[in-house]
Symmetry: C2
Subunit: 257 residues, 2 copies
């Protein structure tokens, strides 16, 4: 059997410790190809580049591994990997991250890391986004490395079933203190923004976004609960945004006038 082909991407760029850890773990399992944005793309969500050209350059960052930098968004990276760099090759798995910061709960929709992973799953590639709840570039990656290894192994052994996209978050704890993995659902939560208003040197106003996460779910089967209780959270995710149980609520529109 030939070695699996694993695509590695992220939203923090090629020099983030998170992608280095992920490339190292993925390389234990198969042939790795890396494509990452050439500038940090946090909060880019599912943005794509339609109205300007995209640059793609081969770079020598990881020894013995093909790596490319792209001027576009994380989703652009995955599209270029699929259609240009790895055209005509079957990609067995896409892993995105390891993000510096949480992508649990509603963060998934703002996240470049998870949007890249979702794009790969849309293209038919089983895909996993990894995020670590430690923002520091000096962080200890032994926990994230351990669980990335375990979950990649699970995925490559074709155990994902219908779950073709996983949102994995790892608590900011030493490996020994992490209790294990919880498979859970996305917690309900939202961000309350507070825009800091300031003046530039020319006296013109500008705003800078800041905010606070408000947890709404009280249940114990959510990603936020798992993380707050020392577990790695794994949420099988997908791209169907239909609110199926609300279809009946608006059926009356068909007869309105």
């Amino acid at each position: 059997m030939s070695k699996p082909l694993i695509l590695v991407t992220n939203d923090d760029g090629m020099f983030a410790p998170g992608i280095k850890a992920l490339v190292s773990v993925a390389s234990e399992f198969g042939e790795v190809v890396v494509i990452a944005p050439d500038s940090p793309q946090s909060g880019q969500g599912h943005a794509i580049t339609l109205t300007s050209p995209i640059r793609l350059n081969k770079v020598d960052v990881f020894e013995g591994i093909d790596a490319y930098e792209c001027s576009g968004t994380p989703v652009d990276c995955v599209k270029l990997a699929k259609s240009v760099i790895l055209k005509d090759r079957k990609v067995d798995l896409c892993v995105s991250g390891i993000n510096h910061g949480s992508n649990a709960s509603i963060n998934i929709i703002y996240s470049g890391t998870m949007s890249a992973a979702m794009e790969a799953s849309l293209e038919g590639i089983p895909s996993i986004g990894f995020s670590y709840l430690d923002y520091s570039f000096e962080a200890d990656f032994s926990g994230p490395r351990h669980f990335a290894r375990q979950i990649i192994d699970y995925a490559l052994n074709k155990k994902l079933g219908d779950a073709q996209l996983l949102n994995v978050n790892i608590p900011a704890l030493p490996l020994a203190d992490i209790k294990g993995i919880k498979v859970c659902k996305q917690a309900e939560g939202t961000w309350t923004e507070d825009f800091v208003e300031s003046k530039d040197p020319r006296g013109e106003s500008y705003y800078w976004m800041t905010g606070e996460f408000i947890l709404e779910s009280k249940e114990t089967d959510t990603d936020i609960w798992a993380l707050n209780n020392g577990y790695v959270s794994v949420v099988p995710s997908m791209h169907d945004l239909t609110h199926h149980t609300a279809l009946a609520s608006v059926k009356g529109l068909e007869n309105s006038n």
Copy 2:
């Protein structure tokens, strides 16, 4: 009873015919406040601006209506409306669009128009994104205006129930030829990209994204089916990306090692 407060936004900017039509229809129902990006933001998905300042300027575009331009993404626009422009006021409805081009099927996740609407619904504001399958800025907006009026009326009469976010697409047909409204689910489909490679004047390569939509759903209860058969499609949408039926598939991860 005081007049409802309606927030209007889009991703094409303040000078698109679509937002002009929507402002005009919304004004029939209540007080309208407009905030739109100061440059086209198609394909921006749920991107937010975290690493740079955001500019916000009051502009005089629509007679007698407060309007603001923002240097950020469509989602930034909604966050600024909620936290700065309309702070301490209750917004009764957010309408986004009318987008020039389809946001049916998987387009919803790439769409700035729909991401703005989704952001409003996350903030607790009932919200509707409108898209018209005619890209031309010369397009006849009588169909979109008619159905926007009908659906806004329905929403303001508190008939949405659990459906706090609607993805509305209007076929590119004369009003008289549109058969009515279908409440439906998001069709399965994907984009196959083809990147056009070219050289800039300095001889450096660049890529420009193009693509083709591939419909996967065969059912007759989807938005694409409705549009192809002369109906306006209305999909109640939401932000929970959990793949609930796949939770069991990966439960084994909890005991893997």
